[in-house]
């Protein structure tokens, strides 16, 4: 079954560039390896982060408590950092905007 992924690494994965979201029916073992090495992550539909610009993401990351988001390599890493911060204990975990 097809799933939505986001490229979080610095190299293109499965034909998609860093920071890009894509939907694909990947081989399950290959997808798990790619997630484990930090190349892709399962995208969380509906939070709209992938549509934002890098500047907007950096600002959101700062609000979410991510330190020095501007030093992260690409949009994918900033999005992952925002999502991780939102899921930390003490955070609301909500992505409502």
């Amino acid at each position: 079954m097809a799933k939505r992924y986001i490229v979080t690494g610095t190299m293109a994965q499965f034909g998609h560039q860093p920071g890009e979201e894509f939907e694909a029916d990947l081989n399950e073992a290959a997808a798990q390896r790619a997630i484990a090495r930090g190349g892709i992550a399962i995208a969380q539909d509906g939070d709209g982060l992938a549509d934002k610009t890098r500047d907007e993401l950096d600002e959101l990351a700062s609000i979410a408590g991510v330190s020095n988001p501007e030093k992260l390599a690409n949009k994918g890493e900033v999005i992952e950092a925002i999502r991780a911060a939102a899921n930390e204990p003490g955070q609301s975990g909500s992505n409502d905007q």
């Binding site: 610095t10 790619a34 930090g38 890493e77």
Partner: protein, 154 residues
Amino acid sequence: MPAQAKAPLLDASIVLDGVDFSNSSNEVNVEDSAAEHDVTGFQGGGYSEETTGLKTANITINVFQDYSGGSVHQTCAPLYREGTAFLVVIKPDDEEISATNPAQAMVGKLYKYNPVSAKVGDPQSMTLEVKNGSKHGLKEFTKKEDLEAFEAEI
């Protein structure tokens, strides 16, 4: 007489377990060879007669090291350490697969990986050795849908 085409390798596409190594690599060799067996018999006319035996598929890729998430080290180290079989796809050009841009695909295992390798001050690089790891051997595809069907099958 028209000039003969001599294809330089400029925009090769190198994808290893889904990761695009093209921009991190500067040399690739896809080799398919067969063992030779001498089957010369008596009254053979003075020549030895050879026949082919088992085939060997081998891909070597010269890669620049990168330790960032999802890149060279994070991809190669676990594949080598755990002996995982993975798909490697090489195209001479980063365009659609076609008869003039055929994809070479193989399910292989990584037999050589240097996690650290350079002289002082030099960029780190290494030669990855991928050898056939399935009954499929080295396959050539000239249609995208055929490669996708192969990916689904393995």
